[in-house]
Symmetry: C2
Subunit: 169 residues, 2 copies
């Protein structure tokens, strides 16, 4: 049905944003999105297991051809950044164990790819996802919306890399 | 055979230190130690999968009752710290999926628990592991030695917590 189908991941321990975006010809479709939430009272290792299991279940259900991660922003506080990095590692293993290629994009890379502005705010990203890229029903939940944005970024970037490679031949 | 058996983990993507330490009465024994190495040419997600799989295999082989991690030192460079955090997350999922409790100890906590000095160097830790704690054949490889030290730390700390709890009753 799709030429490419990408699982976007906005990593986190309390909330993991997930979104599956498909591309056919030049049209993109939001196939599914969800946020895995873990209770703060649970041990960190168990929370990491839940987010990894949530991502693994999404991979089984939607059979993406690649997984795209939003890279942690290092200007945030260290405890938060460490938690996000741990969640990233946990979910990367789920992706790699499923045999899928993994790509990462920084926050400003996602913003510029989706909106044309490296400093776009969340609302501008939402508007661009629907009006420029044709995604209906952009998730209201911010982490799932970020996951959709990074999936769209990967689809756009992969297409450009494909064109660049073909031109270089 | 043992009253407690702990898998110590010194997390990393290029090298993951693993050591299994058993305690019987007050005697500690180094049961096994190894370093999982991953090639630098491999994609990060695949390297994370290898370290997680290595830890999972050690859990299956040695059936520890707990897993103790050395916590990343945040004064190191950010790229390195992020990689270590990702490896920590990947291995924590392996521990949690096996149903094991996870504990973490910072570098100075390990040093003071093992040597009595929060600023001990690696050689002092090695000497203390063999002469104070009775571990024969402390691993020569530094990451595996660090893993043995964090396993010993967990055994000592758990014992003290047990005594403290009993005294509070």
């Amino acid at each position: 049905m799709f030429d490419a189908i990408v699982l976007g991941v906005d990593p986190g321990v309390a909330r993991l944003g997930l979104a599956v975006v498909g591309r056919r010809d030049r049209r993109m479709t939001l196939v599914w999105a969800d946020t895995v939430r873990t209770p703060s009272g649970l041990a960190e290792a168990a929370r990491l297991q839940r987010v990894a299991d949530g991502a693994a279940a999404a991979i089984v259900a939607h059979r993406p051809s690649a997984v795209a991660f939003e890279r942690v922003a290092w200007n945030r506080n260290q405890v938060s950044a460490m938690q996000v990095a741990r969640a990233t590692g946990a979910v990367m293993v789920a992706a790699s164990s499923a045999g899928l290629p993994v790509e990462e994009y920084g926050p400003s890379e996602v913003k510029i790819a989706v909106t044309g502005m490296g400093n776009a705010d969340k609302e501008q990203v939402r508007v661009a996802l629907s009006r420029i890229h044709g995604l209906l029903d952009v998730p209201v939940q911010p982490d799932a919306a970020d996951a959709a944005a990074v999936a769209v970024t990967h689809i756009l970037a992969s297409r450009m890399r494909g064109i660049a490679k073909a031109a270089a031949r």
